[in-house]
C-alpha cells in the first residue's frame, strides 16, 4: 500500500455561533476537532458515532461541501483545493446522501438527472449518453423504464439507487457515503448494502461509509473509526473494534447496541 488514496491531516471544522448580549460574542461549535486518518484504494473505512459527533460534517468537509477551518486533505498525495479545481476533483470523489426524499431534484426526470453530469463533463460522446444512462441504471439494479419517471414515483430504496447511479456517472475513485441506509427499512438496507459491496468488487471503489447503525458499519467496513464530540476516539480493523474495543466510549457504544438474539439480552442485564 503505497501512498493512501485519501489523507486527512488535523482537519478542523468550526462554526461561529453568535451568543450573549446583543449577539456580540462569538463562540465556536467545534464540529470536527483535529481529525487525522488515511484511506487506501479499494478499502472501506467505516465512520461511526452518535448524532452530533461530527461524522457527517467530516464527510462533507472532505468533499468541500463544508468549510475547512484548519488542517489539510490530500487526494493521491496531492492537496485538494475545491475553489480552483472543483471540476477535476468531481471526477475523483463523489457523495451519496442520507435522505432519499431530498437528494433528487423533484423537477427532473431520472433520465435528465443522470444525463446532466455526463453532458456537463462530456464523460461520453453526445450520441452515447442514453446508452451510458441505461448502463448506470442497470448497474444499480434499475430498469431503463425509470428514465421517463419523476423522483416522487419511486420508493426510498429506489431513490437511493438513483443517487448512487448519479455518483457513479463521473466514475469517481472515492465515494463518501453519508449515512446512505439509515433512513431505509431493514430489508431495503440489506439490498443497498449488498449493492455497495458488489459495486466495490466490480469497479474497485473506495468508500468512506458514515453511519450510526453499528450493524451496517460492521457488515461493510474493513476498518472502522469511532467518533465522539468531533474527535476520532478509536480506529482499527472491524474485528478489533467489535471483538476487543479499547476506548471507554467504544465499549459503551457496543454495549448499548441491542443484539437480535433473545438469549443474549445485554441491555436489560447490565445497569
Amino acid at each position: 500500500m503505497d501512498t493512501p488514496l485519501l489523507t486527512v491531516k488535523n482537519v478542523k471544522t468550526y462554526y461561529p455561533v453568535k451568543t450573549g448580549f446583543m449577539n456580540l460574542q462569538t463562540s465556536y461549535v467545534r464540529a470536527v476537532d483535529d481529525v487525522s486518518f488515511e484511506i487506501y484504494e479499494g478499502e472501506t473505512l467505516g465512520l461511526v458515532g452518535e448524532s452530533g459527533c461530527g461524522k457527517s460534517t467530516l464527510g462533507r468537509t472532505i468533499i468541500g461541501l463544508e468549510p475547512l477551518t484548519d488542517g489539510e486533505i490530500l487526494f493521491d498525495g496531492k492537496p485538494m483545493n475545491f475553489r480552483t479545481d472543483r471540476v477535476s476533483l468531481s471526477k475523483q470523489i463523489q457523495i451519496v446522501f442520507q435522505d432519499p426524499y431530498s437528494s433528487l431534484n423533484p423537477r427532473l426526470t431520472i433520465g435528465d438527472l443522470l444525463a446532466e453530469p455526463l453532458t456537463v463533463h462530456n464523460i461520453v460522446p453526445r450520441n452515447e449518453i442514453q446508452q451510458e444512462v441505461t448502463r448506470l441504471l442497470q448497474l444499480v439494479g434499475l430498469s431503463e423504464t425509470a428514465k421517463a419517471r419523476y423522483p416522487h414515483e419511486f420508493s426510498g430504496g429506489q431513490r437511493q439507487r438513483i443517487g448512487i447511479a448519479r455518483a457513479l456517472a463521473l466514475r469517481p475513485r472515492l465515494i463518501i457515503c453519508d449515512e446512505p441506509v439509515s433512513a431505509l427499512d431493514v430489508s431495503i438496507q440489506a439490498q443497498i448494502m449488498n449493492l455497495f459491496k458488489q459495486l466495490q468488487r466490480e469497479l474497485g471503489l473506495t468508500y468512506l461509509f458514515i453511519a450510526h447503525g453499528l450493524g451496517a458499519v460492521k457488515y461493510i467496513s474493513d476498518r472502522i473509526a469511532v467518533m465522539y464530540a468531533g474527535k476520532i476516539v478509536e480506529m482499527g480493523t472491524a474485528e478489533q473494534i467489535f471483538k476487543n474495543p479499547q476506548h471507554e466510549y467504544t465499549k459503551k457504544l457496543l454495549g448499548a447496541y441491542p443484539i437480535p438474539d433473545p438469549t443474549k439480552r445485554s441491555i436489560l442485564t447490565q445497569q
Binding site: 462533507r60 468533499i63 468541500g64 461541501l65 472543483r86 471540476v87 476533483l89 468531481s90 471526477k91 470523489i93 463523489q94 457523495i95 446522501f97 442520507q98 435522505d99 431530498s102 437528494s103 433528487l104 431534484n105 423533484p106 423537477r107 446532466e116 453530469p117 456537463v120 463533463h121 444499480v140 439494479g141 434499475l142 430498469s143 425509470a146 419517471r149 419523476y150 416522487h152 414515483e153 419511486f154 420508493s155 430504496g157 429506489q158 439507487r161 443517487g163 448519479r166 456517472a169 463521473l170 439490498q191 449488498n194 449493492l195 458488489q198
Partner: protein, 304 residues
C-alpha cells in the same frame, strides 16, 4: 443459525433482480385532478377566459366605439344600449368591454415586472446570503414600510397618471413581496441534498441557480403571482377611482365607478356604476379562486 444458510441457498438472490415500482399517477394528471376538485376555480377559469376574449376582441364585440358620442344622453338600458349610456352619451357596454383590457393588462403587466425584479433579487439574496442578503432585505423592509396605496398615489402624482405609468409604478413598487417569498424558498432549497449534489458534481453556480433552484421556486411564485394580479387590478381600479389612474376619455372599470361619487348619479343612474363594479368583483374573485386551487394542486406537501 445454519438453518438460514441451508434454507436460502436454494435460490440465488442478489441485487440485480429488477425492481418494480408503484404505478403512481403521472404528476400532470394529479395536478389536473386536484385542480378540478375546486369547482369555483374551474368556473372562475372559464369566466376569466371569456373576459380575456372580450378584452382581445373588444373592437368586434362592442356595439359602439367606447368614446363615440351617441344621441342617447344618460339613458337607462335599452335595446340600442344594453347597459345604457352616460351623461356624455357614450355606450356603457362598449366602455366596459374596452376597460377589461385595461384591468387585465395592468394586472398581468405589473405582476410580470414585480416578479422579474423580485425573483432575481430574491434568488441572489437567498443563494449568496451574507451582506448582499442583508442589503437586499433592508431595501425590501424600506419599500414595505411605505403604505402601498399612499406610496403609489404620491409617485403617480409626481410621475403623472396614465396606464403605462400605473403598470410600471405597480410593478416597480410590487417587487419586495415576491423577493421575500423567493428568498425564503431559496434558503430552504439551498440546504437540500440535490443542490449539494450539484456542487459536488462540479456544476457551475449559474447552472445550479437557474436549472436546479429557480425551477423549484416557480410553484410558490405562481401562487403568489395570482394574488398579485388580483391585487394589481384592485389597486388600478382604486387609483382610477381617485382620479389618478387611467384618465378619461379612456375607459377603466375604476374611473367609470368614480362618476358614482356624485349622489345624483349614485341614486338615479345605477347602470353607470354597478356593471363595472360587478366586473371587477367577478374578475378578482375568479383569480383568487384559481390561486387557491393552484396552491392546493401544486403543494408538494400533500402528495398523498
Amino acid at each position: 443459525m445454519s438453518l438460514f444458510k441451508r434454507y436460502f441457498n436454494k435460490k440465488k438472490y442478489d441485487a440485480e433482480h429488477t425492481v418494480t415500482w408503484s404505478e403512481d399517477m403521472p404528476s400532470k394528471g394529479l395536478f389536473l385532478k386536484r385542480f378540478k376538485r375546486h369547482k369555483l376555480a374551474v368556473i372562475g377559469f372559464f369566466y376569466l377566459a371569456i373576459i380575456l376574449l372580450c378584452a382581445i376582441f373588444a373592437p368586434l364585440l362592442a356595439p359602439y366605439n367606447p368614446n363615440e358620442i351617441t344621441d342617447a344622453f344618460g339613458e337607462g338600458p335599452s335595446m340600442a344600449h344594453w347597459l345604457g349610456t352616460d351623461d356624455i352619451g357614450r355606450d356603457i357596454l362598449s366602455r366596459v368591454l374596452y376597460a377589461a383590457r385595461v384591468s387585465l393588462s395592468v394586472g398581468v403587466g405589473a405582476v410580470a415586472i414585480a416578479a422579474a425584479i423580485g425573483a432575481v433579487l430574491g434568488l441572489i439574496a437567498g443563494y449568496f446570503g451574507g451582506i448582499i442578503d442583508g442589503i437586499i432585505m433592508r431595501i425590501t423592509d424600506v419599500f414595505m414600510s411605505f403604505p402601498y396605496i399612499m406610496f403609489i398615489l404620491v409617485v403617480a402624482s409626481i410621475v403623472g397618471p396614465g396606464l403605462t405609468n400605473i403598470i410600471i409604478i405597480l410593478g416597480v413598487l410590487g417587487w419586495p413581496g415576491i423577493a421575500r417569498l423567493v428568498r425564503g424558498n431559496v434558503l430552504a432549497i439551498k440546504q437540500s441534498d440535490y443542490v449539494k449534489a450539484g456542487i459536488a458534481l462540479g456544476y457551475s453556480t449559474p447552472r445550479i441557480l437557474f436549472k436546479h433552484i429557480l425551477p423549484n421556486t416557480i410553484a410558490p411564485i405562481l401562487i403568489y403571482a395570482t394574488s398579485g394580479v388580483a391585487g394589481a387590478i384592485l389597486d388600478e381600479a382604486a387609483l382610477s377611482f381617485l382620479g389618478l389612474g387611467v384618465q378619461p376619455p379612456d375607459a377603466s372599470w375604476g374611473n367609470m365607478l368614480s362618476s358614482a361619487q356624485s349622489i345624483t348619479i349614485l341614486t338615479d343612474q345605477p347602470w353607470l356604476w354597478i356593471p363595472p363594479g360587478i366586473f371587477i368583483l367577478l374578475t378578482v374573485l375568479s383569480i383568487n379562486y384559481i390561486g387557491d386551487a393552484l396552491r392546493d394542486a401544486l403543494d408538494p406537501r400533500n402528495v398523498k
